[in-house]
């Protein structure tokens, strides 16, 4: 025999046992290795899927992962929504009633988001109305018709809005209603505004009586005094006394002082006299503010403010207020004051700040450019540096913009963001103090180069896109970059980013929104698409969008709102952007396109909520219910307003 020696029967058996045991061990090791490979492979596939976008995160709160990402892209076309822009609203050809006009105004631009319980909000809205009077198609003749429907209205926001409208129209007919509303805390500011503007003696009496009984409630006193200040020159002595009392109580120039509430043109001369002659600097400062406030929408002579602003012997508070006034009324005069100011030894920082703010609208005199760059770059200058940067960014001077272009790449991330914000704010400068939004090519290139930086934060990227868009709204590459900005966003950021860049993307975004609405099987993503679609500027004038909202969005809301009242949880506690709000979308769409039959549905939402969300904790349920009831009251009020004056 050659080869292996023959083994005994027992020996051979033992060897087989040992070999099998060895095999089992090898198998275990093989199994562990294979499993590890599988686990790593799975993790890699998952990671890759996530990086590419279509696979949403498991804990993403975006309700439907696959609907949006694949749908987005500039070249997609969705059937059912026309490509061509329609010039007119299908309902615009019929002359709207005053109620329809107001309902339209209230259903867009989140007009009802602002609580008009505070005089400043009332003042802001009233100013916008008075400024926009030529295009605001409601007049004093319409007041009786609107007043007739006032009692039917349930939402306090709608009632506040209507009162401010009456005040803006100086409607004496609304005095009775305003007197009735005055005691309600949420209505005091708007009612006081009506009573002051109506110039009715009963209104004045009611305001005086309310003021004397107002007690220590500061907000109420401010609202009533604001109303009183609308009445005209005859109330000036009272305003002076009130201002002195408030100063005695510890108010500073930063607080609102009653003389500063003035809005009536016939108060200008007496206010000017107080500003020049009164013994107390703070009263003079408040009178200057009041003077400026009476002239917000007119051109008035503000030359007398130069002497006050530039006078070294004047109190700082007076000079600061005079400078602020100049920046509003005659910004070019403010630049002269800045020159004088810089020649003074050691000028007060608040004065410099006010002067810089003033020059923002006037353009920077060349001699100050170096100083402003010094201030803007000094690390410890705080608000003075920020103001200097603002003034520089507002400048249309090519040399200044070239220097900013050199500065931009050398700044750190925070500084870059600040400069980009200031550059994009150029948009908000009043016309006449800027020569359009055109920027020097060097600055545009610097911003473009910044966009190539992969480390750039989304906030800076957005601001850079804003700057480029305001420089040239038709630039294709800016639109493409906006798409990339949108597509690169994580799931939970997408709707926020869509809102940020929808104006840059223009009409194309509508098709994508309609597509995502039709593709999704969940309520919230569809609601979100409707909300965004309604909020894209100019969309409500586009016939195809209007018909989509009427024919698809409204039926969808009618069918799904009662079942989805729990979605209100999102607007209270979710991580969603503020526009993601059930009530607001409902108010917008129903308020604009709803029919009388929808009122019953809207008013039953509260009871649907009570039924669906009975398991929620009591305090949460109360809070959500309050918001939901207000939103549905707003929506049904807007439908009611549309019905006014229609047979």
């Amino acid at each position: 025999m050659t080869g292996k020696p023959e083994m005994s029967y027992e020996r051979a058996g033992t060897n087989r046992v040992v070999a099998a045991a060895r095999d089992a061990r090898k198998l275990k090791v093989f199994g562990v290795i294979l499993f590890l490979f599988a686990a790593v492979g799975y993790a890699l596939i998952r990671e890759r899927g996530r990086a590419e976008g279509p696979v949403p995160r498991a804990t993403s709160h975006a309700p439907d992962g696959e609907a949006l990402p694949r749908a987005f892209g500039p070249d997609r076309r969705v059937e059912g929504i026309a490509d061509e822009d329609a010039a007119t609203d299908p309902v615009a050809s019929v002359e709207p009633t005053p109620g329809q006009v107001l309902a339209d105004v209230m259903s867009i631009d989140s007009a009802l988001e602002d609580d008009l319980s505070h005089w400043e909000a009332v003042d802001w809205l009233a100013f916008a109305m008075i400024e926009g009077r030529p295009t605001f198609r409601v007049s004093r003749e319409d007041v009786p018709e609107l007043l007739a429907g006032f009692e039917q209205l349930r939402s306090s926001r709608v009632r506040q809005f209507l009162l401010v409208t009456f005040g803006a129209l100086e409607a004496a007919e609304a005095t009775e209603v305003a007197i009735e509303e005055l005691p309600r805390p949420e209505m005091t500011a708007s009612a006081a505004y009506v009573l002051g503007r109506s110039r009715d003696s009963r209104g004045l009496e009611a305001l005086r009586a309310a003021l004397s009984g107002a007690g220590p409630d500061q907000q109420r006193r401010e609202a009533l005094t604001f109303g009183l200040a609308q009445h005209g020159a005859s109330v000036i002595p009272q305003l002076v006394i009130a201002t002195e009392v408030w100063l005695l109580q510890g108010a500073t120039t930063a607080d609102p002082l009653p003389l500063g509430f003035a809005r009536s043109a016939d108060m200008r001369a007496p206010l000017r006299a107080i500003a020049l002659e009164h013994a107390q600097p703070e009263v003079r400062a408040a009178a200057i503010l009041g003077f400026v406030e009476t002239a917000r929408s007119e051109r008035v002579d503000a030359g007398w403010l130069v002497a006050l602003a530039a006078g070294p012997a004047e109190a700082v508070s007076v000079r600061v207020e005079a400078l602020r006034g100049l920046s509003t009324l005659q910004p070019r005069l403010a630049a002269e004051v800045l020159t004088d100011l810089l020649e003074e030894p050691d000028p007060a920082p608040e004065l410099l700040l006010a002067a810089l703010e003033a020059t923002r609208g006037a353009g920077i005199p060349e001699v100050h450019v170096d100083l402003l760059f010094e201030l803007a770059l000094a690390p410890s200058e705080g608000s003075l540096g920020a103001q200097a940067l603002r003034a520089l960014a507002a400048s249309s001077d090519v040399a200044v913009q070239r220097r900013l272009a050199e500065l931009l790449p050398r700044q750190d991330a925070d500084e870059q963001l600040r400069l980009l914000q200031e550059l994009s704010m150029r948009n908000h400068l009043p016309h006449g103090v800027r020569d359009g939004n055109a920027l020097a090519p060097e600055l545009v290139n610097a911003v473009r180069e910044l966009l190539e930086d992969p480390e750039l934060s989304p906030y800076s990227e957005h601001q850079a896109l804003q700057v480029l868009y305001s420089h040239d709204p038709s630039a294709e590459d800016v639109r493409d970059r906006a798409w990339s900005f949108l597509l690169a966003s994580p799931e939970e950021e997408r709707s926020r980013r869509l809102m940020m860049v929808s104006h840059i993307l223009g009409e194309t975004v509508n098709r994508e929104l309609v597509h995502s609405f039709r593709e999704s099987d969940a309520f919230l993503p569809r609601l979100e698409a409707v909300a965004t679609l309604s909020n894209v500027p100019g969309n409500l004038e586009r016939a195809e969008v209007v018909s989509f909202l009427r024919e698809e969005a409204l039926p969808f809301l009618r069918a799904s709102l009662p079942e989805n009242t729990g979605a209100s949880l999102i607007s209270l506690g979710g991580r969603r952007p503020p526009n993601y709000n059930l009530g607001r979308v409902a108010t917008g769409v129903f308020g604009r396109y709803g029919e009388p039959a929808d009122i019953a549905l809207l008013e039953s939402l509260g009871s649907s909520f009570e039924r669906n969300q009975s398991a929620w904790p009591e305090p949460l349920r109360k809070a959500v219910l309050a918001g939901l009831s207000e939103s549905s009251a707003q929506a049904s009020d807007l439908i009611r307003l549309r019905l006014l004056g229609r047979e």
Binding site: R16, A21, T59, A62, L569, G573, P617
Partner: protein
């Protein structure tokens, strides 16, 4: 040994198919349905535990935190692996049937429990919930599956006693 390799290959193949199923047009509706059921389960459990919730298709929204049951998180991969593993086990069919009854509801119950935990913690501490979702649970599930896999191999490997000739 060959039989074991074939079984392993079947198991790996089933795992791969399950893993890739979220990208197959045919299986996507299955994931969608599974996501809805899981989300419904999560919402009911969370609601029973006194958590204010709102269910929207495959999403469950809590107060301040929300979860979306995506295909990779609906438990299908684990269920397919375990069911295939049990099917391939060298056991009488009656015992396999018992194991199926244990494994299938077990996987989905465990998944619901996992998501409820993430949701409940997320409404209180978002960061902790993210750590739980991104690290703790994936590692935990991997370890459990690893242990089961090694036990499966031990069970299926040819035993020394079986190889011993009589």
């Amino acid at each position: 040994m060959v039989r074991l390799l074939v079984k392993t290959a079947i198991l790996v193949f089933a795992g791969m198919v399950a893993l890739l199923s979220e990208w197959f047009t045919l299986t996507r509706p299955m994931h969608a349905a599974l996501g809805r059921w899981t989300a419904t389960g999560v919402e009911r459990v969370a609601r029973t535990m006194g958590q204010p919730t709102y269910l929207d298709a495959r999403s469950v929204h809590g107060f301040g935190y929300s979860v979306l049951v995506t295909p990779e998180c609906d438990g299908l991969v684990a269920a397919v692996l375990l069911v295939t593993g049990v099917t391939l086990l060298s056991l009488p069919w009656r015992r396999k049937l018992l194991l199926f009854l244990l494994v299938i509801p077990g996987v989905f119950a465990a998944n619901v429990a996992r998501i409820v935990t993430i949701l409940l913690i997320g409404t209180r501490n978002e960061q902790a919930a993210d750590i739980l979702h991104e690290i703790v649970f994936p590692v935990g599930v991997t370890l459990v599956l690893g242990v089961l896999w090694v036990r499966w191999l031990s069970h299926e490997a040819p035993r020394p006693s079986e190889s011993t000739p009589r």
